[in-house]
Symmetry: C2
Subunit: 221 residues, 2 copies
DNA sequence: AATTAAATTTAGATTTGCCTAAATTATTGT
DNA sequence: ACAATAATTTAGGCAAATCTAAATTTAATT
């Protein structure tokens, strides 16, 4: 049984590893992600290494063991199912759900989470488009790329998710009606400003900066 | 902002006070209720007294202040709404909900609890028949008594709740189909064994011991 | 290669919640 | 009224999670 603090460390390590393509994760990045001191991180990674959840080589950072991986997948399942509940059932906007799910994910009850899953209709993706692992911890990646990587114009694209979860970014996107499931087309990319012009469902055109385009995930139909 | 441990102490004190008719609550009873040592309780009640949640006189026990009262009512609201969700929405049996609600009640978000309330249709009572305070902390007691106190026979009674919440007791009652909302009649009370004979909805007769009768709450129609 | 800078670990302390054992106060029984 | 008993508090300590400051190691720069 892990404390919620230990769970949050494991999740932070997974997130950083994911982001930087599975290299070893540094003490400093964990401290930055969790807003703690490096000294605290060193203490905790030593403890988690003792518990066989991390591989840890002094001064060279950590990576998750098989046990650490399965721990994090169960947590992501819980987090994303709670986000789906908050969004789909209670009507929270997608920029409000993360903070509350951050607490709910630590509630201990396997039956609770399986019943929640069933009640929600076994959703495959959360409100941000992130995949929800099943009770065995497996989930399917879907073919997707960032809007910035799209090379063909005028082709129909489906918004599948986002690569950033801060509420300002999410609020901006929902104001522009750019949420998972919505269909768009890339009209033009300005060579100097890198601004992306897209056309939405209802025919209106929207300008998106390169920064936005790099964090918006889409799928070609 | 209270820790979940502090919240559990406040709840325990409220529960004991309720049970013993609002006298001052002793260190020992709190320790028994929470399964800790008296020394730990002394530490905590000193802290909660500093925070103005308790009146505390050394060697003479504690009672809740106005702040303590409103804290506990918010907590009971959360606890009972979560129990209703687990029971009514997710289909947990009434003997399973308490333990999980014990965790969920500590999640911090006023909007969450108000949305949950609305989603559930603003229920007035939880699965055990306990009243759910509204967002101002007020709730209405309903006229009820224990089955053991009923003096008239053959009169229609509605089951309104229970005075004990341990899962063995609750399981026994649901096996006998004696849950809140069900209608029964008292047929006889044996003068020696104190066994209560009741007739249920469907006409079948059930024998209940005095212990059960004392913890089953009913209302005359 | 040597020096500087950056990252990491260790040392020492703090807070929260808990414990046992000892000291103190209140209650009970004769 | 006083001794025995029960309840409560205090003393001293421990584990978890955090911090700052100092020491150590690795990485980067001249
Ligand atoms: Mn969390
Ligand atoms: Mn999400
Ligand atoms: Mn609790
Ligand atoms: Mn209840």
């Amino acid at each position: 049984m892990l404390t919620s603090t230990e769970e949050d460390y494991i999740k932070a390590i997974y997130k950083i590893a994911q982001y930087q393509g599975d290299k070893t994760v540094s003490t400093k990045n964990i401290a930055l992600e969790l807003g703690t001191s490096s000294a605290s991180v060193t203490d905790m990674i030593q403890k988690l290494s003792d518990k066989q959840l991390l591989y840890y080589e002094k001064y060279y950072g950590v990576s998750l063991t098989k046990d650490g991986q399965s721990t994090v997948l169960k947590l992501l399942r819980k987090h994303r199912l709670w986000e789906s509940f908050l969004h789909d059932t209670l009507g929270f906007s997608w920029d409000q759900v993360h903070e509350i799910a951050e607490q709910l994910e630590h509630v201990q009850s396997d039956e609770l989470i399986d019943r929640l899953d069933r009640f929600l209709g076994n959703p495959k993706y959360d409100p941000h488009g992130d995949p929800i692992p099943n009770s065995n911890g497996s989930f399917t990646f879907r073919p997707q790329c960032t809007l910035a990587e799209v090379k063909e114009f005028h082709k129909e694209l489906h918004i599948t998710g986002v690569r950033k979860h801060d509420s300002g970014f999410l609020q901006y996107l929902s104001e522009q009606k750019l949420t998972p499931g919505k269909s768009i087309r890339l009209i033009a990319v300005n060579h100097f400003s890198k601004m992306h012009t897209i056309k939405t469902d209802d025919g209106s055109e929207v300008q998106l900066s390169m920064d936005i385009a790099r964090d918006l995930l889409v799928k070609t139909i």
